[in-house]
């Protein structure tokens, strides 16, 4: 393998890891505050659709991004209302959001554009063009979100409170800080990040929305989150690793490795899921989620 191929693989790994990274950080914010989010996939999908529809209607990629973020935050607030205000089951709510997103984007897309759920192709200013090293501005925004997340969660008072609410909400409540307010803030931040992830897919990477275009990336992001043990810098590493796997799956297709023979693409595709299961089983280190994640907070208890 010469340098050229390595650069190509690195480049496409970065491209493929960006949506994972944004969704993974979204999950990180939400779960660090105690709200489990398996609806990352759904929020991304809604943002991808709304982003493409917005960019097409308004003629600007940035406007599309804002529409995508708004849609994703709206869905996030539904999840927040169910899991924070109504103290409902957060897993159930996440499953519902994934189904709703898959159905709604297809139906609305079909009704608006009549192209089998696709949005019309985006061109010119309707897409994010490359600004640096052949990557669009969104790539750098998402990459920047890593140090910002690390700094805000780890080094500021707001971050400390937010993490505390994911570990011991009663203590935060006793200190006179609103558990509900903090959790809603986290859910909104997660919505914004999922909006970035979705818009990147339809307005940055591709030129328009395709039905079910997230194709399980929200779940890989979830896997990466567990892999990163709910921390920002490791999240970057995990997402890049999964992006690298994805990129090399394309390159390794039909390539035969010495001693192993031909590596099936599916074996590489299965890696993120398999690695997560193995990690969760505690064979290589232990992944411990925030203590109060998934538990609705009830004041009186």
């Amino acid at each position: 393998m010469d340098l050229g191929i390595l650069v190509t693989i690195f480049d496409s790994a970065l491209r493929l890891s960006i949506p994972l990274l944004a969704a993974c950080l979204a999950g990180l914010w939400s779960e660090r505050s105690g709200v489990v989010d398996i609806g990352l996939e759904g929020k991304m999908l809604v943002a991808a659709f709304a982003g493409a529809a917005g960019a097409y209607a308004l003629g600007s990629a940035w406007a599309g991004l804002l529409v995508g973020i708004a849609a994703s935050v709206t869905i996030g607030l539904v999840h927040g209302f169910a899991s924070i205000s109504q103290r409902g089951n957060q897993i159930v709510s996440g499953v519902a959001i994934n189904m709703l997103a898959a159905g709604l984007t297809a139906i609305v897309g079909n009704a608006w554009y009549g192209q089998g759920g696709r949005t019309p192709p985006l061109e010119g200013d309707q897409r994010f063009g490359s600004v640096l090293f052949g990557h669009s501005a969104l790539v750098y925004v998402v990459l920047l979100a890593v140090p910002v997340t690390w700094f805000v969660l780890g080094r500021t008072r707001f971050g400390l409170r937010l993490r505390a609410v994911g570990e011991n909400p009663a203590a935060v409540d006793t200190a006179g800080i609103s558990v509900t307010g903090l959790r809603y803030t986290a859910v909104i931040i997660a919505g914004v990040l999922c909006g970035l992830a979705g818009a990147y897919l339809s307005v940055g990477q591709a030129a328009g929305f395709l039905p079910n275009m997230t194709a399980g990336r929200g779940f890989i992001a979830l896997a990466a989150l567990i892999f990163a043990k709910w921390r920002a810098w490791p999240a970057l590493g995990a997402c890049f690793l999964f992006g690298l796997l994805d990129a090399s799956a394309n390159q390794l297709q039909g390539l035969s490795l010495p001693g192993i023979g031909e590596v099936p693409v599916q074996a590489i595709q299965a890696m993120p899921y398999l690695m997560t299961v193995i990690l969760l089983a505690g064979v290589i280190g232990k992944a411990i989620p925030p203590r109060a994640s998934g538990v609705p907070y009830v004041k009186e208890r």
Partner: protein
């Protein structure tokens, strides 16, 4: 706010789910309105297509069979306090089990091959659920995450096997060769014809009987057996279970095994009853519908049968509706499923509090 909600039993088991379903349909109606179609004509086409003709009814019952299995699968795990969202993956593996049994034992007569195929489905489905169950029970890995991962693993595995290993050599399609004919589960119209009764042709087959029997079996198990009692104790209070001498780890694994085996019924109906070969994505997301069915049916077999009928109507009626009003694609059914999960599952408390509030006011008014 969090005072215990005193609701009469009928209100809790019938009224609250009914209200959330009605609310879900109202929201779905708004979606139909929003895309510029008339929700009332849509409802008419939906009902006409699913119940209005004998053929439509047959298809409705075919889908209902699928949903009973996946609904029961979610419910059994739910009683043990587990959230099995791996129905898709378990049914996928069950399909693999069916194909391996049927296409390798082609020499057997039907009365042996059919039960063996069903057992193969149950065994493979159970295995795919047992691993997450074991990991939850013994290693503490969260069942929701592992079952999600196992769904994806199952789908990747099936793609690999169908493309590289099990595909018929001459065929371009990623599917196995057809199962031996004696292994087909008889179509209902053929069964009736054998007795001289003519009913419209549809995909409906005898698996429906197996589904109803499974529902009865689950009822016996959960509410009338020692094991079912243990499952419910573990589900409601694992530490109390330990004091009662029940091993939660053992019960968790058993519940998941049963759950996975039940999810395998989806593959039996789809593959042995209708497709007669193993193909990609035959589960069509029905595993997730099982969650809606179980939540709506309050994890009780009778409720699950009723909820499955409703979803059968939606899926069959939705197909007809998409034909009559092309703007309303079949994705509408997925939307309704999602809203029902949201309302009957995550926002359940909202409707319960509403109903409790009304009852309390009525009581005050009478006093």
């Amino acid at each position: 706010m969090s005072a215990p909600l005193d609701l009469p039993r009928w209100a809790d088991t019938v009224l609250v789910p009914a209200i959330s379903v009605v609310a879900a349909f109202l929201v779905a109606g708004l979606v139909v309105l929003a895309i510029g179609e008339n929700p009332l004509t849509a409802t008419r086409w939906l009902l006409q297509g699913s119940l209005g003709t004998g053929e439509g009814l047959g298809f409705t019952l075919f889908y209902m069979t699928d949903f009973i299995f996946v609904g029961l699968a979610v419910a059994v795990a739910y009683h043990a306090g587990l959230f099995n969202i791996g129905g898709e993956g378990q049914a996928t593996l069950a399909g693999l089990g069916i194909a391996l049994v049927l296409n390798n034992l082609t020499f057997l007569p039907g009365f042996l091959l059919i039960p063996l195929g069903i057992l193969g489905a149950a065994a493979f489905g159970a295995l795919w659920a047992a691993i997450p169950g074991y990991l939850q029970a013994k290693r503490g890995s969260h069942i929701v995450i592992t079952t999600i991962m196992f769904n994806w693993l199952a789908s990747v595995l099936l793609v690999y096997l169908l493309v590289n290993v099990l595909r018929e050599p001459q065929s371009m399609n990623p599917e196995t060769r057809a199962f031996p004919e004696q292994s087909y589960i008889p179509f209902m119209h053929d069964v009736f014809a054998a007795f001289g009764v003519e009913i419209p042709t549809s995909q409906l087959n005898l698996t429906l009987v197996l589904a109803l029997a499974s529902a009865y079996f689950v009822w016996l198990l959960i509410y009338r057996s020692r094991l079912g009692y243990a499952i419910r104790v573990v589900g409601s209070n694992p530490s109390a279970a330990v004091y009662a001498g029940i091993s939660p780890a053992r019960i968790i694994i058993i519940a998941m095994v049963l759950s996975g085996a039940l999810a395998g019924g989806l593959a039996v109906n789809e593959l042995m009853g209708y497709q007669h070969r193993l193909l990609l994505e035959f589960t069509s997301g029905y595993g997730f519908v099982g969650i809606a069915v179980a939540l709506m049916g309050r994890a009780h077999p009778v409720g699950i049968i009723l909820a499955s009928l409703l979803f059968g109507i939606l899926y069959q009626g939705g197909a007809e509706l998409a034909f009559e009003q092309p703007a309303i694609t079949r994705d509408m059914v997925v939307v309704i499923g999602g809203i029902i999960i949201l309302f009957a599952g995550a926002l359940d408390g909202l409707f319960r509090r509403l109903v409790a509030h009304l009852f309390a006011r009525q009581k005050l008014a009478r006093a």
